[in-house]
């Protein structure tokens, strides 16, 4: 698990997961898009508490590896100000077969999004800004 304020390079990160025993590679990237919930978004600011984000991210990756022995996995998350189209988070997984590559990649991004101390603030075209609510809170609220 890595936190960075520099652009993420998926091509270089992918190569770190290459392994002669791996037949499958699955990656996920979160990109900054120009709309959210109907608002025109101009850019996004990520605030992170890096020391604990790294520890919690390592835990998530360790959980995935424990579930699927032989798996290799890595995750990098940006912080700071990001422009439309930039990559905010990257997850890469390599494994023997594709089943576990997809499941583990999905598990890691889901847990990273909901457990790491990272927050995002959207800056809108109309000059306003706002902190983005967490997905799981919204999902829980919908069930309340």
């Amino acid at each position: 698990m890595q936190m960075t304020d520099k652009p993420i390079r998926p091509d270089e990160l992918r190569d770190l997961l290459m392994d002669k025993t791996a037949g499958a590679y699955c990656s996920f990237e979160g990109w900054i898009r120009n709309r959210n919930d109907g608002h025109a978004v101009e850019r996004l600011e990520y605030e992170a508490y890096c020391p604990l984000a790294i520890i919690e991210g390592e835990k998530v990756i360790a959980e995935a590896k424990k579930r699927f022995p032989g798996l290799q996995a890595h995750c990098v998350h940006r912080y700071g100000m990001l422009e439309i189209g930039e990559c905010a988070v990257w997850v890469g997984v390599s494994s023997e077969h594709r089943d576990e590559a997809f499941v583990a990649c999905r598990y890691i991004i889901d847990e990273v999004k909901s457990r790491l101390p990272i927050w995002k603030k959207e800056y809108y075209a109309d000059g306003n800004s706002g902190w983005v609510n967490c997905e799981r809170c919204a999902a829980h609220a919908a069930h309340d």
Binding site: K113, S114, R115, P117, K120, C134
Partner: protein, 81 residues
Amino acid sequence: MSKSITVRYFALFRENAGTSEEKLSLDVATAADLYEQLQHRHGSLDARAHCKVAINDEMSAWDAPLADGDVVLLFPPVAGG
């Protein structure tokens, strides 16, 4: 008995508190007690169930006891990725 606690706020909590860190002298037994007192103080903290707390850089439970000199990090609901 009153304890010296350093509280650090993040994201929305920081904006609501108007500061990223404050040292407080409070009569609190647990992180939950601290959170409740700060809700009265700042009036606008989220429902605790969606928030997380770390004590001295370790993720903790809300019923974890606080000791004199502890640094408590208050995390609003997260939304990474």
